[in-house]
Amino acid sequence: MHSLLPLLAQDGGELSAALMDNFGALLPEMFLCAMVVIVLLVDLVRGRGPSPLFPWLTLGGIVVAIGLVISGSGDPLTVGYDGFAALQVDGLGRLFKLIFLITGALTVIFIMRSGRRYGEEGEFQVVLFGSLAGMCYLASATELIGFYVAFELVSYTGYLLAGYRLESAKGAEGASKYVIFGSVSSAIMLFGITLILGFTGTTKFSEIATALLSVETAQPALWVGAVFTFGGFAYKAAAFPFQFWCPDVYEGAPAPVAGFLAVASKAAAFSVGVRILAYAPAAGAAAATPQLAQLFSQNAAFLEKLLIVASVGTMTWGNLAALRQTSLQRMLAYSSIAHAGYLLMAAAMVLRADVATDAMTAIGFYLLIYLFMNLGAFWVATLMRRDLGTVEIRALRGLGWKQPVFGVCFVIILVSLTGLPPTAGFVGKLQLFAPVVREGFYVFAAIGLVNGAISLYYYAKPLREMFLNKPDEDTRPLRMTGADLALIVALTIPVLVLGLYRWDTVTNAVRDAVAMVQ
């Protein structure tokens, strides 16, 4: 408990900036929080409701935040009070912050061009900034209290975003499911955190990793705590068996928002999950006695099994459920569950010292390209909703012939989501599978590979509609402007380039970033 006292027993005024260590490293998060207030104030002062000003204000804010994240690069900095580290600002965190912010910026652009007006309301942008601030904090959090607060911030803003504008009656159901499931999982997670805190007497991830896996404190209740906390993550990442909310929410929300939740929200869960897991190998290596080391490996093996079961369940359930979908947006929702499963595969490998860096690199790289390819697909859904009034895959019939550039880009994006060369999706998947194979989990890898083959069936559906069928009288073209087209081309280029040419430069950059964690 001692390590908590400095934070809890503050008599207000003493907590000045001078006493904080490296407070400046939190500039991006602080700026995002400031933007919440600024947008709110602007909205209040203008008092004239929606305006095209707001999305531009948001875009500007995000660009500044991206600049702050990049300019803050350097050696890892510990942020905290009086030696108590609450956050660590390092390469892993920066990588994920960039992923969140780019996703946020693209989401705002999508909304601006989606033909809906809700993006022009200040309130929406306030919620978006809150969400981004929470995510960015999460990516650097190294102890439970701050983590939980940020986690809840991301959750609540998520509920608001999902329910802000509904595309259908089903959306209402989805949004309420999201809130109810979310609150329950948060409660469970909080209970888990309480147990961990009670038994280990610390909130720091690094100390928990040691305590959790060592002999003195290991007991069933602690593991209940760990499993419950894991459940909270699984919920956020839409991992098995906590994935049921996901399709309804993604289908009910507007496509840009669904894309934001599918990419940024998932990346947020992985950003902190990976960090927690990354402490385990070091803690194991530091085990004092052979007895401790043995116990550690037993406990790590249990955690690993938990992750493997979740991974296999997630990808298989997601893929099988996606097979039968006829709506593009719902199919993407299920497939995003499957992708969480692939990511969990590598996450399980972070526990193994000799492939931990590889596995973290793979997760970082995959989320980076997943951003482009998945948002590309959601951009198509946005366009379909705007111009065709439906997101049924059927509506794409023959469009590849009418709008070839659009068609070819979408084909490349789908091929990449399937994980076929020569696209970035293949390179990403190769890296996710590599640590699994290297550690000798052949059956696990085989299940993952077969899942990749299954996903081909549903990703080929839009392909078939677009090109294998001629346009018929029902076919209506997408009314794409140059900017709409430029957007999908811009999202396709990284997918193709990172699959064909020098993907090692990006991978090595990601690798350097994640290597800073310890």
Partner: protein, 526 residues
């Protein structure tokens, strides 16, 4: 450099397709690009010294390896290409068929630009697969063939094209993921993606763990067997062949099926020679079942194209039998069979295409007396079908005889018995071809076609005659092909010879259940 040029020459043509709206010019670009690729492949054969059997390194003629992608300690990928006699023979076949199919495709009217763009992309994938010497590169090219093929069947194919295309795509994708899994497992054993290096160091892959080596071999074998295709992984093939447009059927049967055999020669077999020798009874059984089953099912077909498609299953069975038997003759025979089948099946599909374009059906029972109506066409078609039947003096005969002679004298257990059972295929092959010839070409013309059939046009002649001449040439004088292939095969066989001499293997026998299954399948098809 030459190999890079050969591989990427076809895709260089694609941008030019988009410079013009004139369909005729687009056709010229497609045909011209594939003609250049063909000439380059001929030049490679001409310049190649068959004695150069080392891949990558001293003594390699066209080979090179440049560092390409390097990620920490986890991935070291090279841009490496090379050829030996076996791959060069298949490259020449690809170049030739690539050009002839492009000429045949000039009759396609629907979206010519798209067709040739996909077609040229496919050509690059095929050349790349044959020259790649790095597993990553190999896999990229291997998969690069899938998408164009999916579109070529799915857009330009027959009535059931959508189903055929997705079935082809899914089957080959399942095969591919097996390959990828095995590639990664091997990579993390040896820390290299270089194919020659893996072959040289194959004994280190899971050294001492026979069961795991066998599992990996089976994964690789199935991965390639889907492409060959070996019974029971063949079910995508009849559908894809029948639904594909004629030029694509030609490429499918002529080149794509050879990818499977090439993969076994280059990757699956030399990586695990011990597993190959151990699995010999099973491999031989699969080969023989493919030979007999393919022929038996072909006998029962009424769709002309389906008959030709099943004949491919039968003919590729010889390749598996020949490779598994491991004698110099049988392996030479297997490679020759791939080449010969490439020529003859391409001819057969072209022949069927000629009539289909005019009759708009392929029902064997509705044709008769084409000999009287179309004498010139019948002459060429006879060369194709008799070659496929294995008539002496044709390339198919040489190849099949090599396979059977080689397999018969193999030291592997029960080789003689397997070979004798396999020869049933020759008889069945003669039956379905002769029955078909009798139905279609002989007799008196029955049905009066709406428009009188036109005999062979110039364009059709240009595509058919070179193949006919080559099939005859290599039937009478196979020396050039054997001279090219044999040195590479001799080098290739070394680890297997060591394995056969050193290992003591139990006497395996053809499982009695399988013989019954073949008989049952044959009865059912009748």
């Amino acid at each position: 450099m030459l190999l890079t040029l050969l591989t990427f020459l076809p895709v260089i043509g694609i941008p030019f397709l988009f410079l013009t709206k004139d369909v005729k010019v687009q056709r010229m670009i497609g045909v011209g690009t594939s003609a250049l690729a063909m000439l380059l492949s001929f030049y490679l054969w001409w310049a190649f010294d068959p004695a150069a059997t080392t891949l990558l390194g001293e003594g390699s003629m066209f080979g090179f390896s440049h560092p390409w992608i390097s990620v920490g300690e986890s991935f070291q990928i090279n841009y490496a290409m090379d050829v030996d006699g076996v791959s060069l023979l298949l490259i020449v076949l690809t170049g030739l068929l690539g050009f002839l199919a492009a000429i045949n495709a000039m009759s396609i009217q629907k979206n010519v630009r798209g067709f040739y763009a996909m077609y040229l992309l496919l050509l690059t994938g095929m050349f790349g697969t044959f020259v790649a010497m790095d597993l990553f590169l190999f896999y990229v090219f291997w998969e690069l063939m899938l998408l164009p093929m999916y579109f070529l069947i799915g857009i330009w194919g027959g009535p059931k094209r959508e189903f055929a295309a997705i079935k082809f795509f899914l089957y080959t994708m399942v095969g591919s993921v097996l390959l990828l899994g095995a590639f990664l497992a091997v990579y993390f054993q040896l820390d290299t993606f270089s194919i020659p290096e893996i072959i040289a160091r194959q004994s280190e892959i899971f050294a001492g763990n026979g069961a795991l080596r066998m599992t990996l071999f089976v994964a690789l074998f199935i991965g390639f067997a889907v492409k060959v295709p070996v019974f029971p992984f063949h079910t995508w093939l009849p559908l894809a062949h029948v639904e594909a447009p004629t030029p694509i059927s030609v490429i499918l049967a002529g080149v794509l099926l050879k990818m499977g055999g090439y993969g076994m020669i280059r990757i699956a077999f030399p990586w695990f020679p011990d597993a190959v020798v151990e699995a010999w009874p099973w491999l031989a059984t699969l080969g023989i079942v493919s030979i007999i089953y393919g022929a038996a099912v072909a006998l029962a077909q009424t769709d002309w194209k389906k008959l030709v498609a099943y004949s491919s299953v039968s003919h590729m069975g010889y390749v598996i039998l020949g490779l598994a038997a491991m004698t110099p003759e049988s392996i030479n025979g297997a490679v020759l069979q791939m080449f010969s089948h490439g020529l003859l099946s391409a001819m057969m599909f072209l022949c069927v295409g000629v009539i289909y374009e005019q009759a708009h059906h392929r029902d064997l029972n509705r044709f008769s007396g084409l000999l009287k109506l179309l004498p010139r066409y019948t002459f060429v078609a006879m060369i194709a079908f008799f070659g496929s039947l294995g008539l002496p003096g044709m390339s198919g005969f040489i190849a099949e005889m090599f396979v059977f002679f080689g397999a018969f004298k193999s030291d592997l257990p029960n080789a003689k018995m397997f070979t004798i059972v396999g020869t049933i295929g020759i008889v069945l092959g003669a039956v379905y071809i002769l029955v078909m010839i009798q139905k279609v070409f002989l007799g008196t013309p029955r049905e009066k076609p709406l428009h009188p059939y036109k005999d062979l046009s110039l364009r059709e002649g240009i595509t058919l005659w070179p193949l006919a001449v080559l099939a005859l040439f290599f039937g009478i004088y196979p020396r050039p092909a054997i001279d090219l292939v044999d040195p590479a095969i001799t080098e290739w066989r070394k680890p297997f010879v060591a394995e056969i001499v050193s290992g003591d293997h139990e006497t395996g026998a053809l499982p009695p259940g399988l013989i019954d299954a073949v008989d049952a399948a044959r009865d059912e098809e009748r």
